[in-house]
Each structure stands twice: as C-alpha cells, then as structure tokens.
C-alpha cells in the first residue's frame, strides 16, 4: 500500500490482508492536535477516565472484504431485530420474560402495535468481536446507542493521516440525513438526555451540532421539559416553548420509567404522534434475553442464530462452576454488569451471584467466546467493533479496545479505517459500501 506524500503515519505493509490489525501510532503533535479538536470542536468531553486516556492514537485497520461482510451482517441483524420487535409488540404476555421493568410492561400492555409511537431515524449498533472462529456479536444496542462523536469526527480526523485507507461511514451524518428526510420542517428537534451524565450530554451536544449544521434548530432538554398534547410533543423550557418536529431520546428507557409520574415520558413509547429516535419500542429489543424467546415468537432470525453465542436462562447452565459461561443483566448498558468468575472481582462476582438468585429473570447466561487480541502500541488489546445501522443500512463503526475481555466504561475508543484491496489512488475517497 502506498502513502500520500506528507502523510504522518504509515500503514503496516506486512499486516495480513484478511484480518483486523492495528495501524501505527500518530506522532505526538498530530495526535495532540486531534485530541484538542475533539474536545473543543466535537464535544468529546471525557477523553480521560481515571488513569486511562480514552482516545487511541492509532487506527484499527479492517480489510475491505471484512467490512463488507460486517455491513451485510449488521443489516441482516437490523432487519431481524425489527421483526422480533414487531412480534413482541403483539405479545405483551412475553414482556415479563425479557426482564422489562414493570412500569414499561404496564404501559405496553395497554397498546396495540399501531399505537406504539412512530420512529424517526431508527439507529442500532451491533457489537462484533473477532474470534478464532470468525466474528461473533455480544449484543445489539437497540435503545440508545452512543459513540457518534468517536465514530464520526474522531475517525474522520484520524483518517486524514492515513490516505491509503478510508472511513467506513459517518454515522452522525447518516443519522442527521435520516432525521431530515422525515421531520416536519420549521419546527425544532429536541434532544433529550438524563441530567448529570456528561458522557450522554456530549453525545447529544454533538448530535445537536450535526443537526444545526444541516440547517435544523436543535434544542437540548431533559424529560422534565417535555409536554404532550394529544400525542404531539412540545417543549416547555426557559429557552423554548412550543411544538417539536421530533424528539431524539438519549435517555435509557428503564431510567425514564423510574421518573416521577408527573414527568410525561409515556408518549415517547406509546400513543405518541411526534416521531421519536429511538422510539420506546426499541426497549423491547435492547433486552439480552431475546434469544430465550425466539422459538416462542416464531421468528426467522438466521443472522442472530449464526452470530450470537449460545444464550440461556441461568438456571439451565452451570455458570457458577463452569468457565465456559458468563452472566449479564437483561438490560446491561455499558458492560458493567457482565460477570464471570475469572474476569470479575470477587466482590462483583458475589454481588452478581446474589442478584441472579434474587432476580433470575433479570439475567442471562451466555457461552463465552475467546476474543482474538490485537497487538497494539498499548500492548495486547481486545477489540469490539460496533457497526451502526440507520434505518436498516450500515452507517459506520464505533470501535473500542480494552485490556480486559469485557468492554466496559473505561475502554479506549479507536478509529477503524478500511483497507481497500484496489489501488489506493482509486479508493481514498471511497464511500461506505
């Protein structure tokens, strides 16, 4: 692979063409410049978590055929996930089995599928991991997938130093385009998050800027500012009072359901007319217990069956004694509730065991898979390649690497660049396949 003159880093020519590899690190001034731009221009406001710098100064290089395969798989998974979601809308009797919080079960029980609030720009992210047996997924982030800042702006900035490779898409741009194609012109879009979580504030601040750059008025708010009249969303905030074109919900469903009853969060889920991204129905497919219901739902989900490790009710596996199983909560958002005797601290393992005993329907057992580590300048790291779909189409990659096999809040964000197979001069401006 050749490089454009003046580039500051070099792709590894000897890297095998068939597998994910780590690219060389940028020189320090170039990376400092990227980091500064990320925090000042692109709302990356948590670049350090305790002793961990959360932006990798090197890219991950994914061969183009691998990216095409992942994109196809993600699109298949997205279609199947929507199928599961529709079936679950018709079967509220099964909601208790996916660990759905009680207040959400009560809400969905009173709604027929047409009464579920409509979606705008439906986003999902499927987390892929390389294993000796090929790619496996650990989960879908169906409710409120994050990582837009890193997968869009950070990847683009890193890519400028590797002209022989190209970005696998720009999820934020795809998302904004999808919002634009559906939303009512003239009215603002509200972006909703929980107060106090900077990692969420930074996502909606970035998305608000992306929407503003596309010519929309974007307003940040909390759930307390929303009002609904006959299903139509309004904002009642000190900085805007009036109707909304759409609501972007970056507030996890199970958290919303615990807010005081005076907060009008329910029309984000059912009986709403204003479109929501993601709508409350996405909560149904966020559950990690879905595989337990595939047969009962009578759904054809070949991609899910091929890519997801065996998943069972905890009572049906020897997870306490066997090294081959790990457990995770049905609504596990950052990987923090994934537990395994050999990977978790004794305290966390004990707490998880107790919770499984008390709330077995809130957990699943999943067969462990060995993630193939990457050799990086930071040492061996385990990658997680999150592939976005926006309205069913693959839209980009959010990658994280961790020194542990479990990807949690302290993982490091890495840009994924695609290594083309054709001559580089033909491909430096190539778009998403």
């Amino acid at each position: 692979m050749t490089l454009r003159p003046g580039s500051t880093a070099h792709l590894t020519p000897e890297a095998p063409q068939w597998q994910l590899a780590c690219g060389p690190p940028l020189n320090l001034p170039a990376f400092h410049d990227i980091r500064r731009r990320m925090v000042l221009e692109f709302c990356k406001w948590d670049p350090q978590v305790q002793d961990v710098s959360t932006l990798a100064p090197f890219p991950l290089l994914l061969p183009e055929p691998q990216w095409r395969q992942l994109a196809r798989d993600a699109e298949s998974l997205a279609a199947e996930t929507l199928l599961i979601e529709r079936r679950l809308m018709e079967r509220p009797d099964l909601h208790v089995h996916i660990g759905l919080p009680r207040r959400l079960r009560q809400l969905f029980r009173g709604a027929q599928p047409p009464q579920y609030t409509p979606a705008i720009a439906r986003v999902m992210r499927f987390d892929f991991h390389p294993t000796p047996d090929g790619w496996r997924i650990s989960e879908v982030n169906s409710d409120v997938p994050g990582g837009f800042t890193e997968s869009s702006a950070f990847t683009r900035l890193i890519a400028q130093h590797f002209p022989g490779a190209y970005v696998p898409g720009d999820p934020a741009h795809s998302w904004a385009t999808a919002i634009h194609s559906h939303h009512e012109p003239g009215l603002p879009v509200a972006l909703l998050s929980a107060p106090g979580f900077m990692e969420d504030h930074q996502v909606i601040a970035f998305l608000a800027r992306t929407l503003a750059a596309a010519g929309h008025r974007a307003l940040v708010c909390t759930a307390h500012h929303l009002r609904f009249t006959h299903g139509r969303a309004h904002l009642d905030a000190a900085w805007y009072k009036g109707p909304l074109a759409a609501v972007v919900r970056f507030h996890q469903a199970e958290w919303l359901s615990r807010l005081p009853r005076s907060v009008q969060w329910q029309p984000l889920f059912t009986h709403g007319i204003t479109r929501v991204c993601n709508p409350g129905a996405a909560t149904l497919t966020e559950s990690k217990r879905l595989p337990l219901l595939w047969d009962q739902l009578d759904v054809f989900v070949p991609a899910w069956r091929r890519l997801l490790p065996e998943t069972r009710h905890p009572r049906d596996t020897p997870w306490r004694t066997s090294d081959e199983w790990l457990i995770k909560q049905s609504y596990c958002n950052t990987g923090d509730s994934v537990a395994h005797a050999g990977l978790s601290t004794p305290r966390k393992w004990l707490a998880a065991r107790l919770d499984v005993m008390l709330h077995p329907r809130q957990w699943i057992a999943q067969r462990r898979f060995q993630i193939t580590p990457l050799q990086t300048p930071l040492g061996p790291m385990f990658p997680c390649i999150g592939v976005y779909t926006v309205d069913g189409r693959a839209a980009g990659i959010y990658a994280r690497i961790s020194s542990r096999q479990i990807i949690a809040y302290d993982a490091i964000d890495a840009a994924v660049l695609i290594q083309p197979q054709r001559a580089p001069h033909d491909l430096t401006s190539k778009e998403t396949p």
């Binding site: 000042l40 710098s53 900085w239 805007y240």
Partner: protein, 265 residues
C-alpha cells in the same frame, strides 16, 4: 483569545496532569464574553499557608465560582499546575442568550467560571509553569446544588457530581511522588460527599489528606480523616446519584425540579 489558546494554557499538551483537565467549559469560552466581567474580580487571592510546590503535595480547590479561579492563580504562583475539573454544560444547545439571560435559565450558572478561566489565561501563561508542576485540581463547590436559591420548572439542570474516575488514581499519584493532598474549601473542612469518595480512596492508599478553609486562610492546613461516605465503592453509586433515579446520598443532585400539575400541554 481562541478556545484552543485558552485550553492549551490551562492544559498544556506536554504537562503530565493536563490529561485530566475537563474540556467542556473550554469548548464554550467563545459563547461567554469576558468583557462582561471585571478582570479585577479574578485577581489572585492570598493563600499564605499553602506550602510552595515541591512535588510531594497536590491541591484540591473545591471553591465556588470565580473564587476557584482566583485561588487557582494563587496556587499557580506557588508552583502548582491548575487542573480544571469543571464538568458541567454551561448552557443547553440551542439556547439564545439574547432572549433569556443564561442565569435565569440554568440551575448552575457557570458564566463566572468560564469568564474567569478566559480572563486569567494570560496571567497563567506568563507564569510559565514547569510541565512537571504538581497539580491543583479545581472543582466548582456549587456543582451539586446549583447557584440559584430557587429552581423553577423549565430550568436547565446542569448540576454535576465529582467522581473518582475524574481524578488520577492513588497509585498514579504515589508513583509521581505525591504524598499528601490539601483540600481547600470556603468554610468547612469536611469534604463534600461526592468528593469524599475520591479522597477516601487516596487516604486508604496512605496519602495524607489535609484541609484548609478560606474563612480561616491564615491557619495552616489541618490533617483530616475522611469518613466513609454512603454507598462507598458501590458499583451503582453513580446510577443512584444521578439521573433523578432516586433521591441520592450526595445531597440533592438528580432530584427533579417539581412540575406544576397544571403545566401539561
């Protein structure tokens, strides 16, 4: 004065503690006009009993508004590297300050801090601190409760909490020679409940914790024993503390501003 210049002065790329500087306020400096604020208000205060920086002592300045910035400059004059840990969004995206004054729309008015950081930048730059200068971590003492006596429906809730992950670990501090930490607050010597989670971890790793009140600024820092805060080391501490999920032990953060029942629609 560009945001990049202001940020590079407060978090120079080659200073080892710069990695911990929280960038969110620096991303907003252009939206706040420093001219609105009296530059004299940010003149350094006197910290006579803080020892000159020798590499073994770090500071945590948990002070409100412009006082924190003024003390940061005073600490810098003694050789400490200010590390801003202000971690709240000053204004909601889409907010138009010409229509509504910011102070009337947010629970925590960060304007004095943002303007203070901007105004004090040239002073800090002139000090030309060595990259290895020990840290003086800056926190907004009003972060959990806000700056307004009353909170109204429709306000933007930009309160925040300080978390252990916002700071270096005890191991890292010790590896860089830090053996004691002086907490500077306005009145009390007892740390705020959220900060206590961090200080207790440091204390358990044999880092000595001392405290100083600006109210008695002529007194030397006093060794304190950080008490075990509620939910110490619980995995879900932050979930309990934020997002309004439940009334939390940190003193009100995450609580919701009541909404009148007549405000629907």
């Amino acid at each position: 004065m560009t945001p990049a210049y202001v940020f590079d002065v407060w978090a120079p790329p080659h200073a080892p503690w710069s990695l911990w500087a929280k960038p969110v306020l620096f991303a907003h400096v252009e939206r706040f006009s420093p001219e609105l604020h009296d530059a004299q208000a940010f003149a350094p205060v006197d910290l006579p009993t803080i020892p000159p920086a020798d590499g073994t002592t770090a500071l945590v300045l948990d002070l409100p508004g412009r006082t924190g910035v003024a003390c940061a400059i005073a600490a810098a004059q003694k050789g400490y590297r200010p590390v801003p840990l202000y971690n709240a969004v000053p204004a909601p995206a889409g907010f138009d300050p010409s229509a509504v004054p910011l102070g009337a729309a947010v629970i925590c008015d960060l304007t004095p801090i943002v303007a203070g950081l901007s105004v004090a930048t040239s002073t800090l730059d002139r000090l030309n601190l060595p990259h290895q200068a020990p840290p003086a971590f800056l926190l907004d003492a009003d972060r959990r409760v806000g700056t307004r006596a009353t909170q109204l429906p429709g306000d933007f809730d930009n309160r925040s909490v300080s978390l252990p992950t916002d700071f270096p670990s005890a191991n890292l501090l010790l590896s860089r020679g830090v053996q004691r930490v002086i907490l500077v607050q306005s009145l009390s010597l007892e740390p705020q409940p959220d900060l206590a989670h961090t200080l207790l971890r440091w204390q358990q790793a044999s880092i000595q914790i001392l405290a100083l009140s600006l109210f008695a600024f002529a007194s030397p820092p006093i060794p304190i024993v950080v008490k075990r805060p509620p939910r110490f080391r619980l995995l879900w501490q932050r979930l309990a503390a934020t997002a309004g999920l439940r009334r939390n032990p940190l003193g009100g953060f995450g609580g919701t501003v009541p909404i009148p029942s007549s405000s629907g629609g």
